[in-house]
């Protein structure tokens, strides 16, 4: 006959049995976690001037080539959006093929094969907004990765380990900015990583280099002498979707309330 006490002992053993593997996978050691949370002297940040952007899409073209995203696949690490606000208060916005081929027509792509031509006289304001990964300080996409295949590097760039990603798509769902997608070839989560292979060599990102108008800039926000850091810290800049608490590190000049 087994007593209640034996069952309690049994339960205790189950708890112990579960906690052993937990300890074994090195996640229950707060002291260790704290110790290695070292500071990095680099924190990459991006600055976009929407006044300067003309929607040529050279950035998208360069990005796709540089980062080997199949050129004709309808996904892209960076893209440019067009916003056209009319005098009667309507918003028209599009980003055909992510603006890989730029904006060469006044017709707005409404999807499903429909286009809307907005006449010059009806426009109240219209502008272009380049988009890319915000390399958030609190990246929700990293938080939700079940296997540790995406992470934030010490310099703040969020990257994906193509050898470890299981392709569940949870990070894609968790990103409020829609920057993630599945790579058509590797079938793993894919995203802008500020051209990590370039910035770590002292080069600018492909999109920054390709932009003829200086609408895109990248810098180290921890370096007080960095010209981009100076602008970000001393001028009025905005971020996208601050309500999500993600603390984006891509800053915008000339944001509008209508920008999504």
């Amino acid at each position: 006959m087994i007593s209640r006490r034996d069952f309690l002992k049994n339960t205790a053993k189950v708890v112990a049995g579960v906690s052993i593997p937990l300890a074994a996978i090195e996640i229950l050691s707060p002291a260790r976690v704290h110790a290695i949370k070292a500071d990095s002297s680099i924190r990459w940040a991006f600055l976009v001037d929407t006044y300067k952007c003309v929607g040529c899409g050279f950035c998208v073209k360069a990005c796709k080539n540089e980062n080997e995203i199949p050129y004709d696949a309808n996904v892209t690490r960076t893209w440019v959006e067009r916003y056209v606000l009319t005098k009667d208060g309507k918003l028209f916005a599009d980003s055909p093929k992510g603006a890989r081929d730029g904006f060469i027509s006044t017709k707005i792509d409404l999807g499903m094969g429909n286009f809307q031509d907005v006449k010059k006289e009806d426009i109240k304001k219209a502008f272009f907004v380049p988009k890319l990964c915000n390399q958030c300080d609190n990246p929700p996409c990293v938080q939700v990765c079940p296997v540790g295949a995406t992470y934030q590097a010490p310099d703040g760039v969020v990257m994906v380990d193509r050898t470890w990603c299981i392709g569940c798509g949870y990070c894609i769902m968790a990103c409020p900015y829609g920057v993630r997608f599945f790579h058509p070839k590797y079938h793993t989560a894919e995203k802008c990583n500020f051209c990590y292979h370039r910035i770590t060599k002292g080069l600018k990102t492909a999109c920054v280099q390709a932009c003829p108008f200086g609408a895109r800039q990248i810098g180290n926000i921890k370096d007080p002498n960095d010209p981009i850091a100076k602008i970000i810290t001393t001028e009025r800049v905005g971020i996208l979707k601050s309500e999500f608490g993600t603390k984006p590190q891509v800053f915008y000049i000339g944001l509008d309330e209508e920008v999504r």
């Binding site: 003309v54 080539n65 540089e66 904006f103 304001k125 992470y151 590097a153 292979h197």
Partner: protein, 157 residues
């Protein structure tokens, strides 16, 4: 105390132990908690190096200048000085060794990226000289008349 009630528990513990034995063989050695803590820094450290190893394709104007200095300096006197050579000529990669010849984009679409007139009042696009692509010689390539290396209207071919 021998008690059959614990038998399933032993099976469970056995399975857990099995997973723990397999784990060190399966998980790369450098996988663990790194700088940003468990929430944002749980990854395989070697992946950072993997990403750094990606090859650079767009080498930039300065790279072109090392051989094509004459071209670069002449374009630098025109409004197109702000445009990277590779935006039209394609990424240099290892040129001249690989690829030996670059595929130049001479299409109309390439010019229209900036020069299709979009009168957007709060964007610099409005300040670029542009045409209506449907009306301005729609059937011929821009480079038939215009020289992108000398885009001033005096430079018309």
């Amino acid at each position: 105390m021998k008690n059959h009630v614990f038998r399933p528990l032993w099976v469970v513990i056995g399975l857990v132990v099995l997973i723990l034995i397999i784990r060190p063989f399966y998980v790369p050695k450098d996988f663990g908690i790194h700088e940003r803590g468990y929430m944002y820094g749980w990854y395989r450290k070697g992946n950072i190096e993997d990403w750094k190893k990606v090859s650079v394709k767009y080498q930039g104007k300065e790279y072109c200048k090392t051989c094509h200095q004459d071209k670069v300096t002449s374009i630098d006197r025109t409004p197109h000085a702000i445009i990277q050579c590779e935006n039209c000529h394609g990424p240099a990669i290892e040129h001249p060794s690989e690829p030996p010849k670059l595929a130049i984009d001479r299409t109309r679409g390439q010019c229209l990226r900036c020069h299709a007139k979009l009168a957007y009042p709060s964007s610099d696009r409005a300040n670029i000289r542009g045409i209506d692509p449907d009306k301005h010689n729609p059937d011929i390539e821009c480079v038939m008349c215009h020289n992108p290396h000398n885009p001033n209207l005096e430079g018309l071919k």
